[in-house]
């Protein structure tokens, strides 16, 4: 048995270190370390509750709007205020834009460049992977950056800027949209759709969204030449590298549900492990047994959570707490969202814990599902009708904001006492996925997914694929 310490990982958001125990060229055990601690949960103590809207987006530059949305949701519950229709549409459009831009960036900038590595030089698809996907110099980067930039102009219209907007409020949005802006938003969504249909999928978004099982996906692949589209190129190398056979997670999928509208949600809240379960915030706990944080090992609901650094704690190996649902490890992200929702292809891909392939496909599938909704939401905007309701802050309240970031379930637990923030606890998507062991020694989702993967000298970059398949956001993880 030999021990490998792997890091710094890049093309993930933030810094990440993984310790691997390797035997016979295969990972036997993994420990994931989130090596950066800033202390937002302490910074927020004593602040005016609405100031959370300034601080929390700055936890993460890539999930910034999602952090805002979680704080706005917790505050709206505390204030008993709800957004008018335009406000809900604005939240969904602003969040949808960030989430889809993140999926798009992940595929092209973070995930695919690994297939241009020298380690794959002998594969038949390698030359094209280099020309198309190589980091910085590949032809995709030159097109993708402008396409992403143009799509994010939605934030210029609706959120002032991205990242770090203050537009999302408990009662809606600060930024009414006028008639001309609504037209321009619809136009930029169409332009992004055109890019996706021409270059990423080579097919209508609706046709991708309608792929309803693995056989249909295979048939779609086999009916098209490799150079048909970037999705087709991905499917080719995914098959050759066996990405559907590595990186199985715990098989328990958790989603807070997203895109609330008129009393319902586009994607439902719940947990799916073969059966669908209701998800209550009270069933979520975090323990600090393997984190450099003080406190007893017993898990706590975040409403009673605390964050107290203890850098020299024996047996700890990360700043990350261990979140659990009813005591169980869960995976979160696009695969979980669509499996919980019941999309048949996602459900099939999610069986047996999923895989690198399952996560990548579901991210792209979600782009195909959500962009048409964004077009509908933009058309539904009513210039001249209200965008924001005002409410008043109570002196005392306990509330929870549960939203979905691109990378999965994001929860903010807020306590207000004497008009100030008395406690603020954040459980982010990668806190779930990159959780350390809990007090009973059960490893987190990535720690499980790495076991059995080839590692060490001469191994393909499979470890890199498994880690990046979760699209980790390390700055959110520990915050």
């Amino acid at each position: 048995m030999s021990r490998l310490i792997v890091g710094p990982f890049n093309r993930v958001e933030g810094d990440l270190e993984v310790t691997l125990d390797v035997e016979d060229g295969v990972v036997r055990s993994a420990q994931v370390n989130s090596p950066l601690f800033r202390g937002f949960e302490q910074i927020l103590l004593g602040k005016h509750p609405l100031d959370a809207l300034m601080f929390v987006p700055r936890i993460c530059g890539i999930c910034s709007v999602s952090q805002s949305a979680a704080a706005a949701a917790a505050l709206s519950q505390a204030m008993c205020v709800s957004a008018p229709v335009n406000g809900e549409l604005a939240h969904n459009l602003i969040a949808g834009c960030e989430n889809l831009a993140d999926h798009f960036s992940h595929f092209y900038l973070f995930f695919m460049p690994d297939f241009a590595r020298e380690a794959y030089a002998k594969r038949v698809w390698h030359a094209e992977a280099v020309s198309r996907f190589k980091a910085v110099s590949g032809s995709a980067a030159a097109e993708v950056l402008p396409a992403r930039r143009d799509f994010l102009e939605l934030q210029g219209f609706m959120a002032g800027k991205w990242p770090h907007t203050l537009a999302l409020q408990p009662g809606g949005s600060t930024r009414p949209v006028d008639a001309s802006e609504r037209i321009r938003i619809i136009a930029l969504l169409r332009a992004f759709r055109a890019y996706l249909e021409r270059t990423l999928f080579g097919d209508a978004l609706e046709a991708i969204a309608a792929l309803d099982n693995c056989a249909a996906l295979d048939a779609w692949r086999d009916a098209r030449p490799v150079a048909h589209s970037d999705f087709r190129r991905y499917l080719e190398l995914a098959r050759d590298c066996g990405l559907d056979r590595i990186g199985a997670g715990p098989g328990v999928y958790l989603s807070h549900g997203s895109y609330a509208f008129e009393g319902g949600r586009l994607l439902r809240r719940g947990v799916w492990d073969g059966d669908l379960h209701e998800l209550l915030s009270e069933a979520i706990t975090e323990d600090v047994s393997h984190a450099w944080l003080a406190g007893e090992d017993a898990a706590r609901n975040p409403a009673q959570g605390a964050t107290l650094p203890q850098a020299d704690k024996a047996g700890a190996y990360t700043w990350c707490k261990a979140p659990r649902w009813n005591g169980r490890v869960a995976e979160t992200g696009a695969l979980a969202r669509l499996a919980v929702q019941g999309h048949p292809l996602a459900r099939e891909l999610a069986r047996s814990g999923g895989s690198v392939h399952a996560r990548v496909v579901c991210r792209l599938l979600e782009i195909a599902l959500v962009l048409p909704q964004m077009e509908r939401w933009a058309k539904a905007l009513q210039p001249g009708a209200p965008f924001c309701e005002t409410g008043s802050l109570p002196d005392e309240a306990d509330s929870v904001g549960m939203v979905e970031a691109a990378r999965g379930a994001l929860g903010h637990w807020l306590s207000i006492r004497r008009g100030r923030i008395a406690n603020y606890q954040i459980v982010a998507p990668t806190t779930w996925n990159f959780s350390p062991r809990d007090a009973t020694g059960v490893p987190g989702a990535l720690e499980q997914a790495l076991v059995g993967v080839a590692a060490g000298d001469g191994a393909a970059p499979a470890i890199q694929h498994v880690v990046r398949s979760f699209d980790p956001c390390m700055v959110c993880t520990v915050h």
Binding site: V6, G7, P8, F9, N10, R11, E13, D15, L16, E17, P35, F37, R38, G39, Q42, I43, L44, L45, K47, H48, D51, M54, R58, I59, C60, G61, I62, S64, S105, L109, D114, R117, A135, V136, A141, A142, L145, P146, L152, E153, L154, G156, F157, M158, A159, G160, P163, H164, L166, A167, G172, T174, R175, P176, D178, P309, A311, F387, C388, T390
Partner: protein, 336 residues
Amino acid sequence: MSDARLNLLWLQSGGCGGCTMSLLCSDAANVVQMLDDAGINLLWHPSLSEASCDEVTALLEDCADGRTALDILCVEGALLRGPNGSGRFHMLAGTGVPMIDWVRRLARRARWTLAVGTCAAYGGVTAAGANPADACGLQYDGAQLGGALGPQYASGNGERVINIAGCPTHPGWVTDTLLAVALGDFGARDVDAIGRPRFYADQLVHHGCSRNEYYEFKASAEAPSQLGCLMENLGCKGTQAHADCNTRAWNGSGSCTNGGYACISCTEPGFEEPGHPFGETPKIAGIPIGLPTDMPRAWFVALAALSKSATPKRVRENATSDHAAVTPAIKRTGLK
């Protein structure tokens, strides 16, 4: 312009990565290509580069030991000194060494050292509240010279750290600074008293604000989503904050004030602890404490009283509406 290409290394520490995300929204058709065209060779960037793990550690060693020329060092995020001066709140993964130590070592070799964003410049949001991570900027601790590199630090070109402050910083502020450095014509006279590039820091956010007519008449918004001026009630510091946000748009056409919320003066040291809620304007006797830069208080009070009394009905009513409830009168202007 020198013929030699400049090597750029980009590191992230105690921040959110948002300045990189902002940079990728650059108006340049392809920001990476733009830097390449300017003669800047991207040695490594954590979000963009292929090299990972041991390849990166080897590159950092080569730069720190002078085997690879390090022309431009960009640092994003605050430097974390805690706990107890150990720097352990951010150990660079795979190296067992605190990031602040890596940055100090590399900064000794860099010809130019750039703090990208307010965290790297002054500490920023990471230094807010009780500052649990003991965060500071590269060469400032809040408004005080010092920080991770110390007041005496000068990079290879003899200059202090260039502070491209902003939370996040604007993509254009970063690319203009890098391109000016590459052209060889960026020096001490091009930064203001706290190290910010003057091309954007010698301006006020107020310049070009789309709410200027409301400001002129002191017709103020009272609640989020209303069209009026944000200074009197909703915490806006655009008349004091140094930046060109309303003449250099964000994400195509945006800015904070255009987005309906206050400028929080995020290019300024200490903006993270204003001493009042961000969305409220502190006042004494109904007059905002923070008056426009360069304007004597008595003038402001007199002008405000006059302009309030002269506010047209259209401006007054629209100020507290979320759409133009009253439209401008149609007037023939051709002969005037």
